[in-house]
Amino acid sequence: MLLSAEKVAKHFGSFRAVAGADLAVEEGEIVGLIGPNGAGKSTFFNCIAGDAAPTSGRIVFAGVDVTAAPAERHARLGIGRTFQVPATFEDMTILDNVMVGAFLRHKHRGEARDRALAVLELTGLKEQARQRARSLGTPGRKRLEIARVLATGPRLMLLDEALAGLTPGEVQRAIELVRAIHAQGVTLVIVEHIMEVILTLTRRVLVFNQGHVIASGKPQDVVKDPAVIEAYLGRGHAQAKGSG
């Protein structure tokens, strides 16, 4: 077991963003998290990434309890994450952005640079290495975020809607990139709205609604689950689907 999250809850005052969610991820898996907007996916993600401390529950990564650990410790242990709204370092060059990630495991500038260049090659950003991050559009920024995380040498990558807002062609290229990263032995957990992505990339999905995991299993089965249809489209649709 690479990651195990047990009964993770996160409350903001009386609002329960995540109300006791479980997730277990084996090394080498690609797991999808889906659910309507406001279902608590991103908050759950933030708990796993160390960006927010859970109100209760326990998170163990590679045998280490990381429940209350800060985000930088998560990164050092091998958990990398991207952000829903790309948080690239705008005034830095693309190469420098990725070097910040590479410095985590390479103390010296030369080594960090080599690592960053290798990652830029893989992610197809090498041509633009000298440009500032601000010159990139949304697809480029999302790609840069993935590159930056990859440079930290993660064992587990958390992608928070890394493919949202891309054109169909870009989505295809991004899917290929995720496959290439997976082929390097990186385990992935992805939050995604695009069903095509979930269906092509993952073997297992968890469906969130109102802070709870309401279904889990193979993506093909889960999308037929009445509870899932209800969560997305409302009760009427679920009944219509059930009787029809």
Partner: protein, 327 residues
């Protein structure tokens, strides 16, 4: 900056006192040169934490004051050479940096700036009421040199070269930092703490490193000031204007750039000296107006400072040339 540009700048700085030596107002110009370098040291030191790490401290007068007070304090009370107080000032600044850094670095943006103002003003008020530290009157150094170790010179030229050596050391240290993990991490912190943390940057620890490095050189600037003027009081050593001057100087030239602070100092100090000379004692209030005007201009037209403006104009000219070639 290109290698030749750098060499030309270094040569000009080394030759400056000789170049103006023939002028009618040689002493005045040499003194102003020394003041430019001193302002550049202060602004470059502030630049490490305020520019590179993006933490706008408005309390750097604390470190400047520690560096300025200790050399004169060891003289006043124990007749020791002021030089002895220089490392003590640095040590005191480092202690203050750690004490201030831990609680205030939890704050971000304006809250951090306001906290640094509050602490610095508190220090100024305490020192201004503490007889051991000269209270409101301040402290004085030796009137005449007892030996070389008192570092007292009649001419400004020796001070000029001492300041130039310290500035060169500081710029070299900053250049090294810029290229190292520390520099990259500070840039990441400035651009976005949350993203930096997610990439494994221990944000508070690196902010503290930056503050300690910055405090060391700010303290050194304070010591050099005290050694040159031989006098310090709460306003000249710890006043908020001391901090503001460092910020404006760095911001005008370009915060977070290697030579921005020097450029800012080369513009602001002569401007200030000019207003003071034209208007005499009544001109000191004008300094505030000049600073205010500079803040408005930078904020409105070029938050990146003159270095950024130069880069932009340069890039625009290159694009025009390329287009002309293409046409």
């Amino acid at each position: 900056m290109t290698r030749w540009g750098l060499l030309a700048l270094a040569a000009a700085l080394v030759a400056y006192p000789w170049l103006v030596a023939g002028s009618d107002s040689a002493a005045f110009l040499q003194d102003m040169g020394a003041l430019v370098l001193l302002a550049a040291i202060g602004a470059s030191a502030w630049n490490i934490v305020g520019g590179y790490a993006g933490q706008i401290s408005v309390g750097h007068a604390m470190f400047f004051g520690a560096g300025a007070y200790l050399p004169l304090l060891v003289y006043q009370h124990w007749q020791l050479p002021p030089l002895v107080g220089v490392p003590l000032g640095i040590a005191a600044s480092l202690v203050i940096a750690v004490l201030i850094g831990f609680p205030t670095f939890r704050l971000t943006g304006h809250y951090f700036s306001m906290a640094t103002i509050a602490v610095a003003e508190l220090v100024r008020i305490v020192v201004g009421n503490w007889d051991f530290l000269g209270a409101a009157i301040g402290l004085q150094g030796p009137a005449t040199a007892r030996g070389w170790y008192d570092v007292i010179f009649r001419s400004s030229v020796p001070y000029y070269y001492i300041f130039l050596a310290v500035l060169a050391l500081l710029i070299l240290a900053t250049w090294q930092m810029q290229r190292s993990r520390l520099g990259y991490y500070l840039g990441a912190i400035r651009a976005g703490e949350r993203a930096a943390r997610s990439l494994g940057v221990p944000v508070r620890r690196y902010k503290l490193y930056a503050l300690m490095l910055s405090a060391t050189f700010t303290s050194l600037a304070g010591s050099l000031y005290a050694l040159k003027t031989g006098f310090i009081d709460p306003d000249s050593g710890l006043g908020i204007l001391v901090s503001v001057q460092m910020i404006i100087t760095a911001a005008l030239g370009g915060a977070g750039t290697l030579f921005g602070p020097l450029l800012g100092a080369a513009i602001l100090v002569p401007l200030q000296t000019a207003t003071n000379t034209w208007l005499g004692g009544s001109g000191s209030g004008l300094t505030y107006i000049v600073y205010g005007g500079v803040i408005v201009l930078i904020a409105r037209f070029e938050p990146g400072g003159l270095v950024e403006l130069w880069h932009r104009l340069h890039a625009a000219r290159r694009r025009r040339l390329e287009m002309r070639h293409a046409a």
